[in-house]
């Protein structure tokens, strides 16, 4: 295979931080090249340089052996470099075709030639086997399809090298498989793909070669076929990582959370949670497994008082909290790591200090008679930042300026400080790197070992099998079965997640 792209000795220095230190990487034509590293390792910075968003302080870029300088995304696109960002940049109420041709629309006189646009979109989508309905509106299609549209958008602009930033972070297991197929089709057509990720499983499954970055430096580039997850994790973090956590045997105690016949309607007024009942006990982790969008969000929001309940009963530590407001639920002893950390969990524009008291900002020692004690609050912030190893220049920076893993640490620190009887963790490791995942898992198990109850909602079967004592599978808003972790296998759970009931499990095992 020929080398299509080389980045030589790229260095990028920000005041006080060397984001990239002499980084070199080469991409071969027709390969999937994974770029992995912890949060803050410099993966995104490197790709943003390639995409023309930032300029390197030193180093050069060779495209097909010729040196190029890329000063803007426009120039990058002209050179055949396309990027699919982690947060999609699509116009929600435009159609697929409109989004794809946006910026270089075919015209007929003064008007838009929509037919030509659709035809050209169809042509590209047929060529690469990326099926989409050009007339569907973005707001109506799934996340996986939106990503497909983003990829098409880049291909439509003539991308030869495609940068995918955390492509699997928002996808369901099935959608991840689909993406794998898409990538195969693309490489067959001679496209080269750079995939930024920190999910090792997908690196092993999808890529041809892997380059590992750590703290702005290249640790190494290896053939995927010649490496293992443990080896990659070690190279990323710089020490041995325990990917499967050891759990001490523990018998569950009293019932902490009891949910009986709970029904919840979503914002479109359709039933999202239907007659759900389960219990979480002291010293156990109950995991809710399921494909995204099967009522998990509504279930958690109804328990925490963020959504109204239609019928049923929720009891926490013997106290009826059905339909109670969020503050009452918090005061009854709940900690909540929300699924959408940027929307629910953090005030992105506010300082870490202010974020670290959300939910108990009105209680002593942080406030007395409505007056906030800034000194205590600042001390509290400092302590938590240290205890939870939140990587930040200082506690006054805004939460939005932190990396995803550190944002999650802020939330975890705050929720653990409450010392809650019940901790609800909704997709707590979504988008985190292995180091951070290890940290979150350790903390969740610690909570369980301290005889607290943990309700874990996750889309990752590995995570669930690793942590849970019991597993409830949710499908279409209903609990189709509850298994002991010891009896659960990935196949069994997968089948139940697709709607098979626990009775079917006999056929499988």
């Amino acid at each position: 295979m020929d080398t299509i792209l080389e980045m030589h000795n790229i260095t990028k220095v920000y005041p006080g931080v060397t984001a990239l230190d002499n980084v070199s990487i080469s991409i071969k034509k027709g390969e999937v090249h994974a770029l992995i590293g912890e949060n803050g390792a410099g993966k995104t910075t490197l790709m943003n340089i390639l995409y023309g968003l930032y300029q390197p302080d030193a180093g050069r870029i060779l495209l097909n052996g010729k040196p190029v300088s890329i000063n803007s995304p426009r120039e990058a696109i002209a050179l055949g470099i396309g990027m699919v960002h982690q947060h999609f940049m699509l116009v929600e109420n435009f159609t697929v075709a409109e989004n794809i041709v946006l910026g270089h629309e075919p015209r007929k006189g003064l008007t838009l030639d929509m037919e030509a646009a659709k035809a050209s979109v169809r042509e590209v989508s047929d060529r690469f086997g990326l099926e989409v309905d050009p007339d569907a509106r973005i707001e109506d299609i799934s996340v996986g399809l939106s990503q497909r549209v983003e990829i098409l958008k880049a291909l439509h602009k003539g991308a030869e090298i495609l940068i995918l930033d955390e492509p699997t972070a928002v996808l369901t297991p099935q959608e991840i498989d689909d993406l794998g197929e898409i990538l195969q089709n693309l490489t067959k057509e001679g496209k080269s793909i750079i995939m930024i990720t920190h999910k090792l499983k997908e690196v092993l499954g999808m890529s041809d070669r892997v380059t590992i970055l750590r703290r702005g430096k290249v640790v190494g580039t290896v053939q995927t076929s010649e490496t293992t997850a443990d080896e990659l994790a070690e190279m990323m973090v710089g020490r041995e990582v325990n990917l499967s956590s050891d759990k001490a045997e523990k018998t569950a105690g009293e019932v902490i959370l009891s949910v009986e016949h709970l029904t919840v309607k979503d914002h479109r007024n359709l039933p999202a949670v239907k007659d759900v009942s389960f219990e979480v006990r002291q010293g156990e982790i109950l995991a809710i497994a399921g494909v995204d969008g099967n009522g998990q969000k509504e279930l958690v929001e109804a328990i925490t008082g963020l959504m109204p309940t239609e019928s049923g009963k929720v009891t926490l530590c013997g106290k009826d909290i059905t339909g109670a407001n969020p503050r009452t639920v918090i005061e009854a002893g709940t900690g909540h790591i929300p699924q959408d950390r940027q929307k629910r969990g953090l005030i992105l524009q506010s300082s870490l200090t202010e974020n670290l008291i959300l939910g108990y900002h009105y209680r002593p020692p942080f406030a007395k008679n409505g007056r906030m004690d800034q000194v205590k609050i600042a001390e509290h912030g400092k302590e938590l930042i240290q205890e939870f190893d939140i990587r930040t220049p200082n506690q006054e920076v805004s939460a939005g300026s932190l990396s995803g893993g550190n944002q999650q640490k802020v939330i975890i620190a705050r929720e653990f400080y409450k010392d809650p009887s019940l901790l609800i963790a909704a997709q707590p490791t979504r988008g985190l790197d292995v180091g951070a995942i290890e940290f979150v898992h350790m903390r969740l198990l610690e909570q369980r070992d301290n005889n607290k109850a943990v309700l874990l909602v996750s889309l990752e079967l590995d995570e669930i099998m690793n942590l849970a004592d019991r597993i409830a599978v949710i499908y279409h808003g209903q609990i189709v079965g509850v298994l002991d972790a010891a009896q659960a296998t990935e196949r069994k759970l997968g089948l139940m997640m697709a709607g098979g009931t626990s009775e079917d499990k006999g056929d499988v095992s």
Binding site: P15, K43, L306, P326, K343, G405
Partner: protein, 370 residues
């Protein structure tokens, strides 16, 4: 210390640059009309800050817009756009006159505070009502406060002509203005305290306004109430998650906002006008307040220099006109400042959306991964 200064500069940079830009564009316009910008600006500042009486005149012009600026600022902080400071101000002026008239037997030490509280409450209820509509029924506060402005104006006109008219109270035909408030209800003129203020009508209301700014700063940044209001304004979903009621804080912020506008009305009556006139149009202080809050970065203490700037522009324009320069230049200056500030806010918003930042190194290096 240096960090603190850099921080202050990072937040004040935008309005400072905007103001400089406004004056530069103003200078160009003056030059185009064949005048000397230097002469014009000398006159502007001489007319507004050149002598004790002119400083006094500027101060009394600053007073009402400082109140309405604070009113707008606190609503902005809760993510609300209170365009109703006009109506809240008008309602409060009527309440002020009514309380002053019916309480005229009371001693000054009781009557004056009572009047100010009445003004605050009248404006607060008028604003809080719009807040309630938003919290309970989701009615956009921009629409409801605009409508409430006109309702306030026509109620005021009726009150002034009928129940609160001197003539009606004395059994004579209706007149176009209300009764004049008793002396016990009037604020002290500054010239009575410091004689060098001379002809200026400045009154102690400016101190009430400054005190209100400090109190608002304290509430917003040092109390749980302020924390909750700001959290709702920055991220209502996160506020809810943190056990903070969006509905309660919406009503509260609108009450405080309306209250400040109302206090402005009460101070204007007790300090300067002493009665309410029948009027075909809204007084305009509320709208100026929006500009004042924008230039002041919605910060209660930032609103003070911002209101001063608008006061200087308004008061100094007369002197500029005497120097042969069209007074409309000051409107151009304030217009340019606003366009610049609003424009950069829009750019900033768009920038956040497109993620094309690149100025803040913490953002750049920190945005690795998810």
């Amino acid at each position: 210390m240096k960090g603190k200064l850099t921080y202050i500069w990072s937040v004040t940079r935008l309005p400072v640059v905007a103001v400089a830009f406004g004056f530069i564009v103003g200078a160009l316009c003056i030059a185009v009309t064949g005048n000397n910008p230097l002469v014009a600006y000398m006159a502007l500042f001489k007319g507004s800050l050149g002598s004790m009486p002119s400083i006094g005149e500027t101060m009394y012009k600053v007073t009402p817009i400082l109140f309405t600026g604070l009113a707008a600022a606190i609503s902005f902080r809760c993510g609300l756009f209170n365009i109703g400071a006009e109506g809240q101000y008008v309602v409060a002026t009527v309440a002020t006159v009514a309380v002053a008239w019916f309480g005229q037997e009371l001693p000054r030490l009781i009557l004056l505070p009572l009047i100010l509280i009445a003004g605050f409450c009248a404006g607060g209820i008028w604003g809080g009502f719009a807040g309630l509509l938003k919290a309970k029924r989701g009615i956009n506060e921009v629409i409801s406060t605009i409508m409430l402005n006109w309702i306030a104006l026509y109620i005021a006109n009726y009150m002034v002509r009928v129940p609160l008219s001197t003539n009606v109270l004395a059994g004579l035909p209706r007149a176009g203005h209300s009764v004049i408030i008793p002396d016990a209800a009037k604020l002290t003129k500054l010239k009575e305290l410091v004689s060098s203020f001379g002809y200026s009508s400045a009154h102690t209301g400016i101190f009430i306004a400054l005190a209100a700014a400090v109190v608002m700063w304290y509430i917003l940044f040092k109390t749980t109430t302020g924390y909750e209001i700001r959290t709702v304004g920055l991220n209502a979903s996160a506020a809810e998650y943190g056990g903070i009621s969006k509905a309660k804080n919406t009503v509260l912020a609108m009450f405080l906002s309306g209250g400040l506008a109302g206090l402005g009305g009460a101070v204007q009556i007790t300090g300067l006008v002493f009665m309410v006139n029948q009027s075909p149009a809204l007084p305009g202080y509320g709208f100026t307040g929006l500009s004042v809050a924008l230039v002041g970065c919605s910060h209660p203490l930032g609103v003070i220099p911002s209101a001063l700037l608008f006061g200087i522009l308004e008061n100094g324009s007369r002197q500029m006109q005497l120097a042969g320069i069209p007074s409309e230049i000051t409107s151009i200056i304030s217009g340019v400042i606003l366009v610049f500030i609003a424009g950069s806010l829009i750019l900033k918003l768009a920038g956040d959306k497109l993620k094309f930042f690149g100025k803040n190194p913490a953002v750049d290096t920190g945005k690795e991964g998810a």
